[in-house]
């Protein structure tokens, strides 16, 4: 019996050497270690032996079994490792082939920057509101301290709606700026007020590379007790820093809009020349991006706010101009011409 065990051991180990795959390894296992395998057969034959013989041969058979099982595991691990590296080898692909395309839509650049600008003000406690694009003369001009035949009306070439009252007046227009919302917001709320108003505005304007008849503005308004020109300066400087970065210089100068006093123009140093003066900034080194100022007392009075208690500031900026500067776009007509070759760049 011992001899037989020895033979099985040698034979099994020899055969294991030539096993080349997990399937034949399983065959090998069944042949030697399976329920009907050779080793099991030997153990089965123990029953016919004496107790002493059983002890000797049984111990020896278990030794052989343990040895073969150890060999089996070793071999299995080696084969698995081999098969894995084979499958990795076979699985090599050209990773430079294109990915399966997913449809890729984008937001219009105007939408993107309007959001960015509003977000900068929202972070400073402003709320986004919107208003009508077709407006009454009253909101667009009169309530903003621009009565009929005021010379400042020339600052806004107006598209009028084909609608006449019985007295032959044309009171309806396409808003020329987002400022009418100053009045609408103040009419319906009491201070404190802090809003930004994005939206389309319209001008009676022949279009060319720098002029459009339709464009976007963002209006801002803050009214409360104790709001000062210094607060306006702080708010706009913070805005400019967020939108254009720390390194941009900001200029605050006196300007005139009938609905503010004092009036302000905000400019940033030219993107292109860095302030030395070039064609884009008209040799001045500065690019005007916004009009602003302290809300005119007449405007406050008009909406029933007492100007001796409340002060406020307002500002308005043109969105496309900022986008054009940001991306170096040289023709405003590209914005609403909607050529995909343009829109896909943003």
């Amino acid at each position: 019996m011992l001899k037989k065990l020895d033979e099985i051991k040698s034979k099994a180990i020899l055969e294991l050497g030539s096993v080349g795959g997990l399937n034949s390894l399983e065959d090998w296992r069944v042949r030697y270690l399976g329920r009907k395998g050779e080793l099991t057969n030997v153990l089965r034959g123990l029953a016919s032996l004496s107790l002493d013989e059983r002890k000797v041969i049984g111990a020896s058979a278990n030794e052989v079994k343990a040895l073969l099982e150890a060999h089996l595991e070793q071999k299995r691990a080696a084969l698995k490792e081999h098969e894995l590296s084979m499958s990795i080898e076979l699985g090599r692909i050209d990773v430079t082939l294109p990915g399966h395309p997913l449809p890729c839509g984008r937001l219009h650049p105007t939408t993107q920057i309007v959001r960015e600008i509003c977000a900068a003000f929202v972070a400073m406690g402003f709320q986004v509101v919107e208003g009508p694009e077709v407006e009454w003369d009253y909101y667009n001009f009169e309530a903003l301290n621009i009565p009929p035949y005021h010379p400042a009306r020339d600052m806004w070439a107006t598209l009028w709606i084909d609608y006449e009252t019985e007295t032959g007046e044309r009171p309806m227009l396409l808003r020329t700026h987002t400022s009418p919302m100053q009045i609408r917001v103040m009419e319906r709320t009491r201070p404190p007020v802090r809003v930004v108003v994005p939206g389309k505005v319209y001008r009676y304007e022949a279009t060319d590379a720098t002029h459009e008849s339709m464009f976007y503005q963002i209006e801002g308004l803050a009214v409360d007790e104790n709001i000062t020109l210094a607060d306006l300066k702080g708010t706009l400087y913070e805005f400019a820093r967020r939108l254009f970065g720390q390194e941009r210089k900001v200029r605050f100068r006196c300007d005139y809009f009938p609905f503010v006093e004092p009036g302000v123009e905000l400019a940033i140093d030219c993107f292109l020349c860095g302030g030395r003066g070039c064609r884009v900034c008209n040799e001045t080194g500065w690019i005007e991006i916004m009009g602003a100022g302290m809300v005119h007392p007449n405007v406050l009075k008009r909406v029933g706010y007492d100007p001796s208690i409340y002060t406020g500031f307002a500002f308005g900026l043109g969105v496309e101009r900022i986008i054009m500067l940001k991306y170096g776009i040289d023709d405003i007509r590209l914005f609403y011409g909607n050529d995909l070759r343009f829109l896909r760049q943003f």
Binding site: G125, H150, P151, L159, I161, Y202, A230, P262, N282
Partner: protein, 792 residues
């Protein structure tokens, strides 16, 4: 407004370098939008006197001129016919840069021999100096031009192009700018002299003025000059007018323009002999009265127009333009100079009504002060006398029916601080305002009573004074602080976040956002079967005449134009407003979403017809799924969309949108070559459904059983009814269509629909038997209600 700095020096000393001065003006509200330097590059060119002229030995047309430059007297060869002994000329030394008279290029002068004679420089023409195009003669300078002076110092100038805001008509004048410069640099302003001898008869004996409508003319002043001789103005007046962008005409007109530029007050000179009866009446025009203006246009007037009339009729449109009949001409010998103040609104109404704008009207419409009339009139009279040797009548006509008090405004230092956020002491306020001509009296320890100078018609409130203080200090000095008050209560506008989510979702599904014009042409609306749109009264072009009532035409146009260069799929969307007319009110503005899909982008779920319809529908379905709104689709009709390929989109009972294939005729009219599928949604209608409170449902605890079935039903039966019956079972959690078939395997007129049904109970594990029984019940209902049979 163009301002010559040389001219400006007549009224104020300029103590800052040009660039710094421009910066200070710009920062304080008078924007310098351009700086033109005249005479830059005139090195080595000086004033000289011609002291000897000799013929050229070898050429008939050339002469030799010796020019005294003070320390030297070079000789040059000169071909100009007007060369004469004793002339003062601009002499270019060797090394000077000149514009070549023939080629127009800039060249450097070098010593040269002309026909054998050495020329040691050149006597310049205006063209060679770049002053004008005149190259036929040399430029002759005035006799008093100082020899040896660099020509840049003698003729050079700097012209500022200023953008004057409409509130500052006083700055449409040299004196006004001088006042600004004076305040900014601490210099005094000198007004021009205006004394003249009055040697003629009393003016009242020669002319009279009556103001019939004092509401439109608060003051009318006039002076009268006889024995004037109309001629060209002297060079210095012409040069200054040209530098400021005006065209010289004759000495009389030029002086009225010169003084207008000087003081800002428009003036008008009438030929006195043409004023019939010597009597001027300022009155409203009669209806239909006619006047031919200086621009030789006959104008029909109405009672809204203020005219200057004589005994017989209008001779000028007040404040806008003079009449041709009373124009100053060559033969004119006596003139009446008008310096009046007209109502700004009336002038603006008249000039916009007549489409006639002039230098005068653009000043009057901004509001001038009546006190200016007399100053400007005296100055103009003085200048004309000086230039023409005429005689001035004694006195001036001064009709002044409406007198205004000078405005006085109370200003406290606390008010300055309340607005600026910066403490400016009372002495500083007084000093700053004083520099601008305001008179300040101390009313209380920290309060001033400020009297506004007559030329400032824009100052009425303390706030206006605060701006004056701020702009002269400089906005750079304003501190930087942040808002520190309470943040207002948030009042959400639900449509804004909804709209922005829709934008993100649609872009995420591969649609490119576009923004198209709100104004479209009538043709575009008609092609999109839309009518009754709001019209613009003064459209720039017929392409942008009507406010869109739908987003469709803009998107169809965008698709059409992009098809020309895009081979693949074009998927676009727009989120924007439509404008629906309302009687006597602003149009209703509705926030809409419109998408257009052309060309496949995603592998289809099943083969067969429908094109991109199901791409578009998939986008809409997934959009609503993301928004958490249940919608259903029902076949419907729409003029723009193909019959049988159009579905209404419903949320609850509300129709919130439509989806379908663009009708081939509509596609053709927009020049679209490929099938296109469109959806349009009304965000205002959708918004209420997004506010529904959403509750979480617990995760299913019991296993699912899955059964696939294929049903044969009539071809025309909507699949939604099959799904409805299956999902009507309480044990079915979901039924998903995964195949459609019609063809050989099923009878004619029938189609096969394959569904995967998921059975699940929220309360227990279903047995096979229960599932089988339930499926039989479902199949029974399908058969009874839809005639559906199981496909084996």
């Amino acid at each position: 407004m163009k301002v010559s700095l040389n001219w400006l020096r007549d009224y104020v000393d300029i103590t800052l370098p040009t660039k710094e001065l421009a910066h200070r003006l710009t920062m304080s509200g008078t924007e310098v939008s351009g700086i033109e330097i005249i005479g830059g590059g005139w090195d080595n060119i000086v004033v000289g006197e011609v002291i000897e002229v000799k013929p050229h030995p070898n050429a008939d047309r050339l002469r030799l001129a010796t020019v005294n430059l003070g320390t030297e007297s070079p000789t040059s060869v000169c071909g100009a016919p007007n060369l004469a002994l004793g002339q003062k000329v601009a002499f270019a030394r060797i090394g000077a840069e000149l514009i070549d008279g023939h080629s127009g290029e800039r060249i450097k002068l070098s010593p040269s021999r002309i026909r054998g004679v050495l020329s040691e420089g050149m006597i310049c023409s205006e063209k060679e100096l770049g002053i004008s195009n005149n190259h036929s003669e040399i430029m002759v300078l005035p006799d008093d031009a100082p020899i040896e002076t660099p020509i840049g110092d003698y003729l050079g100038d700097v012209i500022f192009d200023l953008d004057i805001t409409p509130n500052r008509p006083d700055c449409l004048s040299l004196v006004g700018i001088a006042r600004e410069v004076g305040a900014l640099t601490g210099q005094r302003v000198h007004l021009p002299e205006d004394d003249y001898p009055e040697v003629g008869p009393p003016v009242d004996e020669l002319a009279s003025v009556h103001i019939a409508d004092p509401d439109l003319c608060s003051r009318y002043c006039a002076s009268l000059l006889t024995d004037v001789r109309v001629a060209q103005s002297p060079r210095w007046i012409q040069e200054r007018l040209i530098a400021c962008g005006m065209r010289p005409i004759n000495n009389i007109v030029d002086v009225t323009n010169y003084v207008m530029l000087e003081y800002g007050q428009p003036l008008h000179a009438f030929d006195y002999q043409k004023i019939r009866g010597g009597r001027i009446v300022v009155r409203r025009a009669g209806d239909g009265e006619v006047l031919t203006t200086l621009d030789e246009v006959e104008r029909t007037l109405n009672p809204q127009t203020l005219v200057i009339a004589d005994e017989e009729g209008p001779i000028a449109i007040a404040g806008v333009m003079g009449g041709l009949g009373s124009e100053v001409r060559g033969e004119t010998t006596s003139i009446l100079i008008e310096s009046a103040n007209f109502n700004n609104v009336s002038i603006r109404r008249t000039s916009s009504g007549l489409h006639l704008r002039s230098e005068a009207s653009s000043r009057f419409e901004k509001g001038m002060n009546p006190d200016l009339t007399i100053l400007a009139l005296r100055r103009a009279t003085q200048l004309i006398l000086k230039l023409t040797n005429g005689k001035a009548a004694k006195g001036i006509i001064n009709v002044h029916p409406v007198k205004r008090e000078r405005e006085a405004i109370s200003l406290s230092t606390s008010e300055v601080e309340r607005i600026l956020g910066m403490d400016v002491g009372i002495d500083k306020v007084r000093e700053l305002l004083g520099s601008l001509g305001f008179e300040c009296k101390e009313k209380a320890p920290s309060e001033l009573m400020v009297s506004v100078p007559y030329w400032r018609t824009d100052i009425h409130l303390a706030d206006d004074l605060v701006e004056e203080v701020a702009r002269i200090i400089g906005y750079d000095e304003i501190p930087i602080t942040m808002l520190h008050g309470e943040i207002p209560t948030y009042e959400p506008e639900p449509i804004i976040p909804l709209r922005e989510r829709v934008r993100d979702i649609l872009a995420g599904y591969g649609l490119q956002e576009v923004i198209t014009y709100s104004l479209v042409s009538l043709g575009m609306l008609e092609r999109a079967h839309s009518s009754g749109a709001v019209r613009v009264a003064n459209p720039m072009t017929s392409e942008q005449e009507y406010l869109r009532t739908t987003l469709r035409p803009g998107l169809l146009k965008a698709l059409s134009s992009n098809e020309k260069h895009e081979d693949g799929a074009i998927w676009l969307f727009e989120v924007g407003r439509t404008y629906l007319p309302r009687e006597g009110d602003l149009p209703e503005e509705r926030e809409m979403v419109c998408g257009i899909i052309s060309g496949p982008r995603i592998a289809p779920l099943w083969p067969g017809g429908g094109g991109n319809f199901f791409d578009a529908k998939g986008v809409v379905e997934t959009l609503f799924a993301r928004l958490g709104i249940e919608v259903r689709f029902e076949a419907c009709e729409d003029e723009v969309l193909s019959p049988g390929r159009t579905a209404g989109i419903f949320a609850g009972e509300k129709r919130v949108g439509v989806l379908g294939e663009v009708h081939p005729r509509v596609s053709e009219s927009f020049d679209i070559s490929r099938p296109a599928f469109l959806f349009e949604l009304d965000l205002g209608d959708i918004a209420p459904y997004t506010s529904a409170v959403r509750r979480y449902s617990p995760l299913p605890r019991f296993p699912t059983s899955v059964r696939d079935i294929a049903l044969v039903i009539d071809e025309g039966l909507p699949s939604i009814r099959v799904k409805g019956i299956i999902e009507g079972s309480p044990l079915v959690s979901q039924a998903t269509l995964f195949d459609i078939y019609s063809g050989e395997q099923v009878p004619g007129g029938k189609k096969s629909l394959a569904y995967r049904i998921i059975y699940q109970s929220p309360s227990r594990t279903l047995t096979d038997e229960e599932v089988n029984q339930e499926q039989e019940r479902i199949l029974g209902r399908l058969h009874r209600e839809l005639g559906a049979t199981l496909r084996r």
